[in-house]
């Protein structure tokens, strides 16, 4: 049981699924792989960043379908290049029902995100005494301690999920976490 879970963790870290599951004979290998996956924390930080990024979304990512409809049958300019909409765009290209309007929309330049505009403005090049958007950011907190809240119920969490690093507070929440959320956010 434990091995299975561990190999699942290693597989998830490498971006794969159940096909990477191994028998107990390869226990060692699996463990080292998992250690590597945990040490890199790449997936975890990515997921954490994606979560923060999602807080600035206007529409939930699940709304891609609606966006597709919009592109097909509405008469307005194209919106921001958010991930879901890029996806939507690709989808709309695949669909056969592509109207003239939709073609015109594709041709029209899509507005860029603020991050792109910021990058373009090249504020890093400004001399250090000039205040700018980048220098106004408040910066990291003075104390590095952070409180942890259970991802399931919101109360103070004492345990960390070995696979994805999210927090939970009790066995009950762990079960719910494993069933619903654990590693499911990694796209």
């Amino acid at each position: 049981m434990e091995h299975e879970e561990m190999s699942g963790g290693g597989g998830g870290g490498g971006g794969g699924g159940g096909s990477l599951r191994r028998t107990s004979g390869r226990n060692r290998k699996v463990a080292s792989k998992m250690v590597a996956a945990l040490a890199s924390t790449d997936n975890r930080t990515q997921a954490a960043l994606a979560r923060l990024e999602a807080l600035e979304n206007d529409n939930a990512a699940a709304e891609a379908a609606i966006e597709v409809n919009y592109i097909e049958d509405d008469d307005d300019s194209f919106d921001d290049e958010e991930d879901d909409q890029v996806y939507a765009k690709r989808q709309s290209k695949n669909t056969k029902r592509k109207t003239r309007q939709a073609k015109a929309l594709d041709a029209k330049k899509a507005p860029r995100t603020f991050m792109e505009l910021l990058h373009e403005a090249n504020l890093e090049a400004l001399p250090p005494h000039i205040p700018s958007y980048l220098r106004a950011a408040v910066g990291p907190p003075s104390s590095t301690s952070r409180r942890h809240f259970c991802a399931v119920c919101g109360f103070t969490a004492t345990y960390t999920c070995v696979r994805c690093g999210m927090r939970f507070c009790s066995c009950r929440c762990q079960v719910i976490h494993n069933d619903t959320r654990c590693q499911k956010f990694v796209a």
Binding site: E56, D79, T113, L117, R146, R147, S170
Partner: protein, 437 residues
């Protein structure tokens, strides 16, 4: 229907969340509408902000905003909204009016250029003045109390907690001290989205219900004065749990708006006395046990009706993010530290005055007990011999606009503006220098 007054000044606080627009000199803006267009599931096409506001079914609205992270990224969409606003709602003719526009701090020059184009070339305003929100808030508060500290010292610290971000900005002699401004990348939008995520994960999927959850946030969230204690209370069952309350989602038949099931229940947390309540640590385990049994019961109840959800600790953990963004995994200091850093980057002579004239503005400061909590956190960070005094605005959402209205009605306003011919002659960048941003 166009206004006959040829000297009207349009004051436009073009926030990422709400547009506040009206005529300079008035006390309140004529129009406060969301700065977005949206398509409800019941509608075939996108609705403009005022139509959206009066639309009675706002479930599953797909939203498009001209703003991203607090800055204008889609001038075309903004143009559409603005032209509708000026023509059909404010009834003014841009050709014979001036515009006082409130822009976010540190606006990028490429965005400024596109705004200038929009104002002069597309809409054809006679002249333009660009202001930033901290200086307008300072102006308004100073004029309200001519003998108060803020107007005597001519300086204040404005904490603007808006839709996309929060700024702590020192203002001196009506000018924002740009090198002292500190920004926290959290605002009302992130809070709403966070609440959305929590509710969707824990009870009902509301990921598409931005307007609904906005309202839930405004009505039910509050700032906790002692998170640990409140978490303990939120664990309790039955009547002891002062935070638990139900919110009923619209069903589209009997009611099209969501509502709080029992308003009295929602207000119970006010009865909570500060720190005085003592908790018996020995009973925790028992409480946990009870909670589990009740939760399963609750879940059954919710499954039956399917259109309501309850909130407990979410009510204070959501605004809590502003004070501790690190809890979310953000590498940013909390609001109190943000203020301290903003003050520290000013001249030491200003420190005592700034701490004594902190002004809160922006919609996200409307959470109950916001100021109290902030004061408490600041007190432990500010040197003992300085006083900490926090002023809350009468209406934090309209505060900036009122300052703008005041400025627009001052006699030398026209002379501070950039006129259309100046813009045509000098171009955007050189005109902008006049505003000292």
């Amino acid at each position: 229907m166009l206004s006959n007054n040829s000297n009207s000044v349009v004051v436009l606080d073009n926030g990422a969340g709400y547009i506040k627009a009206g005529i300079g000199g008035d006390r309140d803006p004529k129009i406060v509408v969301p700065n977005c267009i949206g398509k409800p599931s019941s509608s075939k096409k996108f609705l403009l902000p005022d139509q959206l506001q009066s639309h009675d079914d706002l479930t599953s609205v797909s939203i498009r905003r001209p703003f991203d992270r607090g800055y204008l990224i889609n001038p075309d969409l903004q143009k559409e909204i603005w032209s509708h606003l000026f023509k059909s709602l404010l009834h003014i003719n841009p050709n014979n009016s001036s515009l006082l526009l409130v822009e976010p701090l540190f606006n990028l020059s490429s965005i400024q250029r596109s705004i200038d184009e929009l104002v002069f070339e597309d809409l054809g305003f006679r002249s333009l003045f660009v202001a930033d929100s901290p200086s307008l808030v300072h102006l308004y508060e100073a004029s309200r109390r001519p003998d108060g500290l803020i107007s005597r010292a001519q300086c204040s610290l404005i904490v603007d907690c808006g839709f996309s971000f929060t700024h702590a900005a020192p203002v001196l002699q009506n000018f924002t001290i740009n090198h002292g401004v500190k920004r926290l990348d959290l605002g009302g939008k992130a809070l709403t989205n966070y609440l959305k995520e929590l509710v969707s994960y824990r009870s009902i999927n509301v990921m598409d219900e931005t307007f609904l959850i906005d309202e839930v946030k405004e009505k039910l969230c509050f700032v906790s004065l002692d998170v640990d204690r409140d978490l303990q209370i939120a664990r309790k069952t039955g009547k002891d749990n002062l935070f638990k309350c139900m919110y009923v989602l619209p069903d589209g038949i009997t009611h099209t708006k969501g509502f709080i099931k029992d308003p009295n229940e929602a207000q119970r947390y006010h009865s909570l006395q500060d720190y005085s309540s003592t908790l018996l640590p020995g009973t925790n385990e028992e409480v946990g046990q009870l909670e589990i049994s009740e939760k399963t019961e609750d879940r059954k109840k919710i499954d039956l009706t399917k259109n309501e959800f309850h909130l407990t600790n979410e009510r204070f953990l959501v605004p809590e993010m502003l004070f501790r963004p690190a809890d979310l995994g953000m590498n940013q200091a909390g609001l109190a530290e943000c203020i301290v850093r903003a003050v520290n980057s000013c001249h030491p002579h200003l420190h005592p005055v700034l701490y004594e004239s902190i002004i809160l503005t922006g919609g996200s400061t409307l959470f109950p007990r916001f100021a109290e909590r902030l004061k408490r956190e600041l007190r432990s960070l500010v040197p003992d011999d300085y006083q900490v005094k926090i002023t809350t605005q009468e209406d934090p959402i309209l505060g900036v606009w009122r300052g703008g209205s005041l400025l627009a009605s001052s006699p030398d306003f026209e002379s501070m503006c950039v006129t259309k011919s100046e813009y045509e002659e000098l171009g955007s960048a050189r005109c902008r220098r006049r505003f000292f941003h």
